[in-house]
Structures are given as C-alpha cells and as structure tokens.
Amino acid sequence: MTEKSELQAAVAAGVIGSEESFRALLGAIVDVARSIFGARASSILLLDEDTEELVFEAVVGEGEDELLGVRFPAGKGIAGWVLATRTPLVIEDVRTDPRFASDVAEGTGYVPSGLMAAPLLHDEDALGVLEVLDRPERSLFSLQEMELLGLFANQASIAVDLLLRARRAERVLSADAGELAVVARLAAVVDGLEGDRREAGLRLLRELSDTLR
C-alpha cells in the first residue's frame, strides 16, 4: 500500500470503524456459524506472518474465555494443513489425532471430538482458518453443510480483510512513520468531537485549508 492510500485507509478507518467493531463482526460470524451447525464451539484463527503462527482471534462456545489470543505453529495439525493447502475438510473424532493441537485444547478442559475447518481466502492469500467444533453426533456430514461452511468462510474472510486493513490504518495513525500521518490523526480527532467544538474544529480546518492553498 502506498503512503497515500494508507493515509486514505487510515482516515476512512477513523471514520467508519475501529478494530473493536471488526472484531465484533468476527464474533458475530462465529456465533452464527456455531448456531447454524448446532455446534459446541466455533472460532476464527488468523495467520501471523511474522511468527508463522495461527492466533485465535474470535471464539464462541466452549473455550471462549481461554483460547482468545492463544497461538500455535501454523505448520502444525489440521488447521495448519487447511491453511497451507487452502482446502476445507471435516474430521470426526479429532481426539484420536495426536498431532491435533490438543495441548491447547486440553489446557482449557475442552477437547473437541469433531472439527470442520475452512481456509479464509482473500485474493491470492490465505488469511486464516474458520473452525466449527463438535457438530451434533446424531447427524452424518453432508455436502450441503460443506457448502454452508464455505459460505461462512467467505463472509469471515471479508471481515478479516477489513480487520487487517483497520490494523494497518491504526499503525499509520499511531506511528510517525509518514509525515502526513498527522492529517489522519487530525481527521480522527475532529470526527470524535461533538456539538460546538466539532463546528469550530471544522471551521478551523476550512480556514487552514484556504490559507495553505
């Protein structure tokens, strides 16, 4: 991203949404996924490219208090396979797989016996993995559910892309990386004002703009 487009993204992020609102969107997606599949838990894991780790970014259901922020190597286990191959899969009785990151799951006291996982794809990149854990045992898996899983993953990947953009924008706003960052910070400050102070702020900016032209 060029400095100019980063600035635009930063200003836009200041106006239309914050990291918190995009995280809430991810939370809503896993909540609906869990509910639709009648599952015990659902989560979104994001790839941290710097450390090659997968990080739990949104969790609902079993383990939601403990798993958020937990990391494990991206080349490991079933989620790692789904991420690397960009291919969804469904597995019943995960406990029997010793390479499933069971140390993570067992630490929370919750070990899933079934797992549906789909990659979060945006353009050419794999951003992370959507997981749905422990569907009801009564139902055999069907292709219809696989399609539904893919639809959720597609929706989640759009939300994740927005979240990642917000984070990049936040870095521009908070760091002194570019000299134009002050403009983005100013936009965010003015956007946060109310009433007379907002009017005064906008008037000041208009006059400043005319003076500098």
């Binding site: 191959t85 960009r86 009785d93 390479r99 893919g150």
Partner: protein, 303 residues
C-alpha cells in the same frame, strides 16, 4: 521416444516429422487391437489389485508404520536450500498433519497391491509452501510415477504458469496427475488444467462409485463424504472433503493402469469416462431401449 514403444512404435525406423503423419507412416502408429467392442468395468479393472502401478502421495507425508497403509516404496521430504534450490531428503518425520496418511490409506484399501510412495511438501515452513509444492511435483514427475495424487491446490497466480507446464509435462510423460477440485468459489490450481484429472465429491458410500461431470472444469466425482480413513499415529477417523475424493480416483486409476500399463493419460481418461457410474447406467439404458444397438458408446469399440 521409448515411451511409445508399447504401441507399435519402431524406434529403429526413421523418425516421423515432429508434428505430422505422412501417409506412408500410418502403419507405424498402429495400436494393438486390445480394446473390446464395449469397454466395461470388468475389462477396465476387474481382478486388478493395483499390482505394478506406482502411486505417489504428494501431501503432508505418510505414516510409514500404519497397518492400513504400510509398506511404502519410498518417502522423501522436499525443502528449499539456501539458494532456494529444492532438496529431496529421506523423510524421517512421517506425517505432519495426518492427511497424507488418510490419502495413502484410501489408495491401499482400493488397490491393495499398488506401490505407494510419499513426497512430503508440507511442514518445512509455511511461507515457502508454494515453492516447495512446485519442487515436490517436479520431483515426483521425474520419478516416473504412474499416478500422482494431489489433494491440494494453490491460489497463488505466479505459480499457475509453472504448475501448468508441469501438469502438461506429466501428461506427455504418461504420469497421471489426479488433483482435488476446490469446493469454495476461488481460483486455484492445478485442478483447473485440462491435462489433469480433477475430482470433486459425491455422497455415495460405494468407494468404486465415480461420476463423470459433463459440466467441467471438475471432470469426475469420487467418494468424499463420511469416509473412514487411517490417520497418523495408528488411528482411524471419519472424514469428508474433496481431498479425500481424489485418492479414490487415484486408486481406480492405479487399478486400471495395473491391468493396462500402456494407456496414455488421454486413453485412461476415456476409460474412466466409459466406466463412470452415470455413463455406464446411461449406456445400459440406451442398450436395453434398442436391442439392435448393443453398444451405445460412440467410438468406444473402434479403437
């Protein structure tokens, strides 16, 4: 040119012009008259155990000691050296996710006497996955396997052209590349290339049921839902996904090639088409509707 000797090619005679067939050379490409008037499953792979066919699982490695998989002919792990050059070392790690073991187990169950080898392209590092995948595929093609099972794909466009060249090179060298179709609406490779056999899933429980798709790019559907498979660590799981439908077709290719080792990938695809579950029932219906026309397979008996 040695690879076409089985079809009556006489390497001792003067070579044909590269891309044409002079009138006096027609006899030299005569095919053995071994195709029956009607290609049936019994002719295609009846009695075959896969003995003699060599299948490669290009995946996360294979657990070499799993009783539902063993023995392996060979197992290598692909990695990139300091100058990004590919390295193939003997794989001592086995399976880093369990998926490759599952694919190998599906092949073993259907083609019990086929030779199975593992080329591991996952697990070395996440960022190098695409380059390692290409290097692994190139290595597998060089080894001259009859069938390469590729239950994975890449969405990286820069890799697409190289993958395309590799897929074509495999096709011309008589190595059949069986590749998983993506079950999400994204562009990925190599399954979209016409030189590979691309596979999606059906829900039937019969491991030998497979369907021809008259609306490509996915060409065939294999069993891919609620499949019981071996997993690393000596376990057995129930799994679903196109990545498990693919080894079903790989195994059926191995059965056919074990019985008819001279088939080219084009001919193999033709046999798959003629013996696909839906094509066979359509041919049977046509035959029973018209008793004077026993073979509803246009051209099938002319080979």
């Amino acid at each position: 040119m040695g690879e076409v000797e089985g079809h009556g090619w006489d390497a001792g005679k003067a070579a044909l012009p590269a891309w044409s067939l002079p009138k006096d050379a027609v006899d030299r490409i005569a095919l053995p008259a071994e195709w029956p008037e009607r290609v049936t499953r019994d002719w295609a792979f009846g009695g075959s155990t896969g003995n003699g066919a060599r299948v490669c699982i290009l995946d996360s490695g294979v657990d070499p000691g799993h009783p539902l998989v063993a023995p392996l002919e060979s197992a290598v792990a692909i990695s990139l050296g300091d100058d990004e050059e590919p390295i193939a070392n003997e794989d001592t790690e086995g399976d880093v996710s369990g998926h490759g073991t599952a694919c190998a187990g599906i092949v073993r169950a259907i083609a019990p006497e086929a030779s199975i080898s593992s080329v591991r392209v996952l697990g070395a590092s996440f960022t190098g996955t695409g380059s390692v995948l290409l290097a692994g595929l190139r290595y597998a093609i060089d080894q001259g396997f009859d069938v390469i099972n590729m239950s994975l794909s890449t969405t990286k466009k820069p890799f697409a052209s190289v993958l395309h060249e590799l897929a074509d090179s495999a096709y011309f060298k008589r190595t059949v590349l069986v590749a998983s179709a993506h079950n999400m609406p994204v562009e990925s490779y190599p399954w979209r290339f016409s030189s590979v056999i691309s596979v999606g899933s059906h829900e039937e429980p019969d491991p030998l049921a497979f369907f021809y798709n008259p609306s490509p790019p996915v060409e065939f559907f294999g069993r891919g839902v609620n499949v019981e498979v071996p997993w690393s660590g000596g376990r057995t799981l129930t799994v679903s996904g196109n990545s498990f439908a693919t080894p079903h077709l790989s195994a059926i290719c191995a059965l056919i090639l074990a019985k008819h080792p001279d088939l080219t990938p084009f001919q193999l695809k033709s046999v798959l088409y003629l013996t696909a579950t839906n094509v066979m029932s359509a041919r049977s219906e046509a035959a029973s509707a018209d008793p004077d026309r026993p073979n509803a397979n246009p051209g099938g008996g002319e080979q």
